[in-house]
Amino acid sequence: MAHEDLVVFLNACFACTGQREFYSDGHEQTVSIAFLHDYIRGNYRRLYARSLAAGLNHFNQGRIVLELLSHSKHLDPEDRREEGQLCRAALAALPPQRAYRVLLGLRERGVNNRRTRAIVREFLAQRPDLAFDALKYRSKLHGLVRHAHPKLQGELGPFLARGWHARRYATALLEQFRRAHFSADAVYDLPFTVAEGLAARHRIDRKQFLKRIGPRLTAAERLRLQSAASRVGLDLEIDLGRAPLTRVALYALSLPAEERQRRSEELHAALTRSARRCLAGAPLPLGRVACVLDRSYSTTGSRDKPRRPLAVALAVDTLLATAASEYQSFWTGGPLADPLLVTPRGQTDLATPLLAALETRPDLVVIISDGFDNDPPRGAGEVCRVFRARLDPERRTAIVHVNPVFDAPHLGPRPLDRSVPTVGLRDAEDLATVLAFARFADGGLSLAELEDYLAVRATELVRRHAPAEPPP
């Protein structure tokens, strides 16, 4: 029972972000995932804390930290210590804006005790440049400081309180921010998100602004602004190959078909390079792999996650092609000349490509689909079941269903069939993690093994983010 509960929970946490999906709205998603968190925290507290290290998506990591910190009565000192370490490590690993938001969640819930104050203090202590944070995440840091009252160094306190109303600041960055309120030229030395608002205030022309702020853009901002820049006739230089794989896929799919065709070579190279970089971090040694990819209309995603299921499919396709020694892809709705030109169309017929994939007798079949198989309904599920039961009882061919969509009514990614493990996936980069996790979803391993797996990963996480030893 416990094993099953945990697998359901971890699976949900790989995929769900509380955002609207194609088949269910945002509210359903939020209620559904909130229930899972409550249930697991209440019943399996220690494993719940350790799942912070299981490679869950950021949304759920943040949620776990928040839940742990806001319910901490009657804890053993030993557990309390471990939880504290895990929270600290997780907060340090999260993107700063997310970590700040988690801590601000404590303010919303009215949680303010010695433990949370210590966590906040330690979080701020490990930030590389707090003055930069005070600028870029000003309202967040301000809110946090007003809630937890950590001691701030130098001019940060007055800066958060008075902002640009002060006479002058000795810290260069803060002074820059103050000056930017009066001089349009000073805007360009600020981080982009801060400068953008001030540029509107100074009525700086958008093209002019993008051109001059160019050098200050982070890689993610640069990628995000590509289409905005091209609209005003500006070319923002970018090295696509350095962006995360799923982001590159999302960007490629956001382009109109002619542009994708025209830049096909460049986009392919970027995808492959990004996949290589990703594999260098998390190697995925695979033999003969076949992949069944869904490109039905439902991979359009939702307004919150436009084209994400399709982008994940494209990214996984590239990743597996790079990682496996032998690789073949099978898209639904017939073969594709160039996967880059894929568009979400038509009904989902997974059975046909799955049969074709099984025919090649690979070591591993990965199915990327939202699990809504409607042509015929449950076609792929039946193929999997019969294949397991009759044609391959010795499991020479492993089948894993990877689902990028969280199905709220079922509290997890929608499965194809019981004979095949289904795992959730938000970013294609996490494929190695979820494939490793698929062993547990398969039911082949026991609870003790899952506990060991989590314990080992938890120790690693804490070790990676341990504060530097003070010099003797």
Binding site: Q347, T352, L355, N374, P377, E382, V383, F387, R390, L391
Partner: protein
């Protein structure tokens, strides 16, 4: 309209000529069967146009009032609809408040250009339905009231519900996976046919897919939507014991798929295989815009609708409305009365009933206003 609809043809159903049904998709209580057409010629196109009119001047002194969210235009033209003042209104001299006006559409189907025809979808069919025996009694039997003899059934009204009210229809249309060469759908709510909808070209369909929500549906479907949360999904099932090779598995899937296709076909068959009477509304080149009324019998489901048919019989456009049981009953009563020259005792006899019983039926169906009050008083 002084007389009833003039039918020019009776067929044994609505042939879905040139259309292939694809596998059904199901969401909650709504099941949708896509209709495909390979290689639409594209010489006939349908575009939606927003209209604000609440009234249509039918052309023979009758007006038709309804909520009409859109009109269809066979080929694009400029919008130009007339306006009428709404009641008498007094204005101070020099005041700039605009007069309250209601836009009026001129005719249900109107030629707007050499190659363009504007018509109001579904209302065209509904107007035909309301016009059934609209003239009232042909013979002045003494039971009928003076109004009935003078102005017929006017005003005659029916109720319908917008698609938005049908629980689950919006979600079902949103998650429906549209095919590449799809030109139409059959929509079932709790496995009762709600509407058949076909357009000439796949691009038109993409544009008009969501407009199914703005159309109106019979009350029955509204109730079904509330009563049933889910309909049975026909999942594929393979007997594992008979499978020994991948090839056999492939064959089993193919035969399962065939069976399931046949099931979809079965659902499309029953519905439009009943006697249907047609009236041609407009001829445009090789196309005919026609409306129809299906069999009206209280024990069967009744459909009305409209269609555009090519000269070779290809169905280019189709939209149907499922009548509620009460609507079928009303129309049935009118038909029977008309058949017996509106003679009450002869009509009652044909039902195997007494005159008072027929009078009660008429009153319950909402036609009490046709009869003199003192006749009804004794019932």
């Amino acid at each position: 309209m002084s007389s009833s609809m003039n039918f020019d043809e009776t067929t044994a159903g609505i042939p879905l000529t040139g259309l292939t049904p694809a596998p059904a998709q199901q969401w909650g209580a709504v099941r949708i069967i896509p209709l495909l057409r390979a290689g639409s010629p594209g010489d006939l196109r349908l575009r939606p146009r927003k209209v604000d009119a609440a009234a249509v001047d039918v052309g023979d002194g009758t007006a038709y009032f309804a909520f009409m969210p859109h009109a269809y235009v066979m080929q694009w033209t400029d919008d130009g609809q007339p306006l009428a003042a709404y009641g008498a209104q007094l204005h101070a001299r020099g005041s700039h408040t605009p007069t309250r006006q209601t836009p009026i559409l001129h005719r249900m189907a109107k030629r707007e250009d050499r190659n363009a025809l504007r018509f109001v979808p579904l209302h065209l069919a509904m107007e035909g339905f309301l016009a059934l025996h609209f003239g009232g009694p042909d013979v002045a039997w003494h039971e009928y009231s003076r109004e009935a003899l003078a102005s017929g059934l006017s005003p005659r009204s029916e109720r319908a519900v917008p698609g938005l009210w049908i629980a689950g229809l919006e979600d079902a249309l949103r998650v429906f996976e549209i095919h590449d060469d799809q030109v139409g759908v059959l929509v079932f709510v709790a496995d009762a046919l709600a509407s058949a909808f076909v357009v000439p070209h796949p691009d038109d369909y993409l544009q008009l897919h969501r407009s199914l929500l703005g159309d109106f549906y019979g009350e029955l479907l509204f109730q079904y939507g509330l009563l049933y949360r889910e309909v049975q999904s026909f999942d594929l099932e393979i007997d594992a014991r008979t499978i020994d090779t991948l090839e056999q598995l492939r064959t089993a899937v193919a035969s399962g798929r065939r069976l399931w296709h046949q099931h979809s076909l079965l659902m499309t068959e029953g519905l439009l295989a009943r006697t249907t009477r047609w009236q041609t509304v407009y001829r445009a080149g090789q196309f005919r815009l026609r409306r129809f009324i299906g069999e009206l019998h209280p024990e069967h489901e009744g459909h009305i609708g409209e269609a555009i048919v090519r000269a070779d019989g290809t169905l280019e456009y189709l939209k149907t409305y499922r009548l509620s049981a009460a609507q079928v009953r009303r129309a049935y009563l009118l038909e029977r009365l008309a058949k017996h020259d509106w003679h009450l005792s002869r009509c009652a006899e044909s039902f195997g009933d007494t005159v008072p019983a027929l009078l009660v039926r008429l009153r319950n169906a909402g036609f009490g206003y046709l009869l003199k009050p003192h006749i009804l008083r004794g019932l």
